[in-house]
């Protein structure tokens, strides 16, 4: 009886511990940064943004505004490998409130498992990066992060 109790208790503890680890984002920023930096060459590092993504019951749209300068050449590098589920990356010329915005990049056609994106931006006044986060109804509190790096020439 005692043995059965201990086994049950141990099982419960491990299930609790395991699920908690699963729901915590596993974002190794150093490794992700190093990977983006490699893809950035020969552009020079300018800035980077880590975005924590927590999947919710409803869809989300997270936006990053990137001011750029006319005449400069820009490269955008993304790494989504720490996400438990794919998130669509889109780049626009205007913010999400604007009706005149134009999509200049979308990751929708990427093959499954492709989680590094390199995009050389055309001549624009500003860049808006959107992450379209799908809904998650599993109640697993899934989360992860996207690393986004900007470089210039």
């Amino acid at each position: 009886m005692k043995k059965l109790f201990y086994t049950g208790l141990l099982g419960l503890i491990f299930v609790y511990g395991f699920t908690t680890i699963q729901t915590t984002d596993n974002c190794d920023k150093k490794t992700l940064t190093a990977s983006c930096k490699k893809k950035m060459e020969p552009f020079k590092y300018d800035s980077q943004k880590f975005t924590k993504v927590t999947f919710q019951k409803k869809t989300q749209q997270l936006e990053i505004e990137v001011p750029v300068f006319i005449g400069e050449k820009y490269r955008l590098v993304f790494n989504t490998s720490s996400l438990p589920k794919p998130v669509q990356v889109n780049v626009y010329t205007k913010d999400k409130e604007s009706k005149k915005r134009e999509a200049i990049y979308s990751s929708k056609d990427l093959k499954a498992g492709e989680n590094e994106i390199v995009f050389d931006a055309p001549r624009v006044r500003k860049l808006y990066v959107d992450y379209d986060v799908p809904a998650d109804s599993t109640n697993q509190k899934l989360s992860g992060c996207v690393v986004f790096m900007v470089g210039y020439k």
Binding site: K2, Y6, L9, L10, L12, I13, F14, Y16, G17, T20, I21, T24, N26, K29, K30, T33, K37, K44, Y45, D46, S47, Q48, K49, F50, T51, K52, V53, T54, Q60, Q61, L62, E63, I64, E65, V66, P67, V68, F69, I70, E72, D95, R123, V124, R125, K126, V129, F148, V150, Y152
Partner: protein, 294 residues
């Protein structure tokens, strides 16, 4: 029987503790305790689980210096900020702003091959970062030593500054201090605009004029980036108001107001009249004086 009961309670407690420990593994964000020291809230935010719908990725001081350099901005002696003991700045907000000022001066001197000045600003940036509790970023990849070793080699120094920016960005993010990034950049932007406008006063170079005007287009993003962090750090309210004041002046200038398409057209370069540049310079100079006086 009593011993057995005790043993059971002890074992159960140990198992639960093991489970809790296991559950907490990997969930901690690294924290630098030094950053909590300070009189204002700039370096001591509460970790937050809140995800902002819109965030900002501001450029580096090096890129701004590089753009000015390409437009023909020459080195002018005596316009960069004077070297000041970092401990003289009273608040973390003031230290972060002046770290930005020195970063801009560092980039300007490096790109103009002013080796001794560049060394002085690098040392000051290090001291200022130490004062903010983030001096360790200078030790990553031997950045300080590599800088000294490569003095005189403009390309290598620019590469090292870019690397320093990268490790700083990562450090601040890991320590949930993204607001410091925006504050440092605000200080760098004010200093870059001050240096650019002072050089423009002498030569009235057309290309530099359009670069000064173009820099104004990112001011809205700087103000919004700071506003997004204001809840975390209410001390930045005054800085936001000052920068918004510059933006309001810019938006009301005839060259801007009468030609709204100039801000949209990617082929057209914006330019301001000398009087308009002078109006902006006066306001920027006042903010810069406020910053460097701490």
């Amino acid at each position: 029987m009593l011993v057995n009961k005790k043993s059971f309670v002890l074992k159960s407690a140990m198992l639960i503790a093991t489970g809790m420990l296991l559950a907490s593994c990997g969930s901690e964000t690294p924290k630098d305790d030094n950053l909590s020291a300070g009189t204002d809230t700039t370096a001591a935010p509460e970790p937050t689980a809140e995800v902002e719908d819109v965030s900002y990725s501001l450029p580096s001081p090096l890129q701004i210096a590089s753009i000015f350099k390409k437009s023909g901005l020459k080195y002018k002696d005596g316009i960069t900020s004077t070297l000041k003991d970092p401990s003289k700045y009273g608040t973390n907000l003031s230290k972060a702003l002046n770290l930005g000022v020195y970063s801009a001066d560092l980039s300007y001197t490096v790109l103009n091959k002013q080796n001794q000045e560049a060394m002085n600003y690098m040392k000051l940036c290090r001291q200022m970062a130490d004062n903010l509790g983030m001096g360790s970023v200078f030790d990553q990849g031997n950045l300080s030593k590599r800088f000294e070793k490569n003095i005189g080699n403009e390309d290598s120094l620019a590469y090292i500054i870019a690397e320093l920016q990268m490790v700083t960005d990562m450090y601040l993010d890991e320590n949930d201090q993204q607001q410091v990034t925006s504050i440092v950049f605000a200080g760098a932007w004010v200093e870059s605009m001050y240096v650019g406008s002072k050089v423009y006063e002498k030569g009235k170079d057309k290309s530099l004029n359009s670069k000064l005007a173009e820099q104004m287009t990112i001011l809205g993003s700087i103000v919004n980036a700071l506003k997004a962090q204001e809840k975390k750090d209410p001390a930045i309210g005054g800085l936001i108001a000052d920068l918004q004041g510059v933006k309001d002046i810019y938006d009301s200038l005839p060259s801007v107001k009468d030609h709204p398409e100039a801000n949209e057209d990617t082929e057209k370069e914006m330019s301001l009249t000398d009087d308009e540049v002078s109006t902006l310079t006066t306001k920027i100079e006042a903010i810069r004086t406020k910053i460097i006086n701490g």
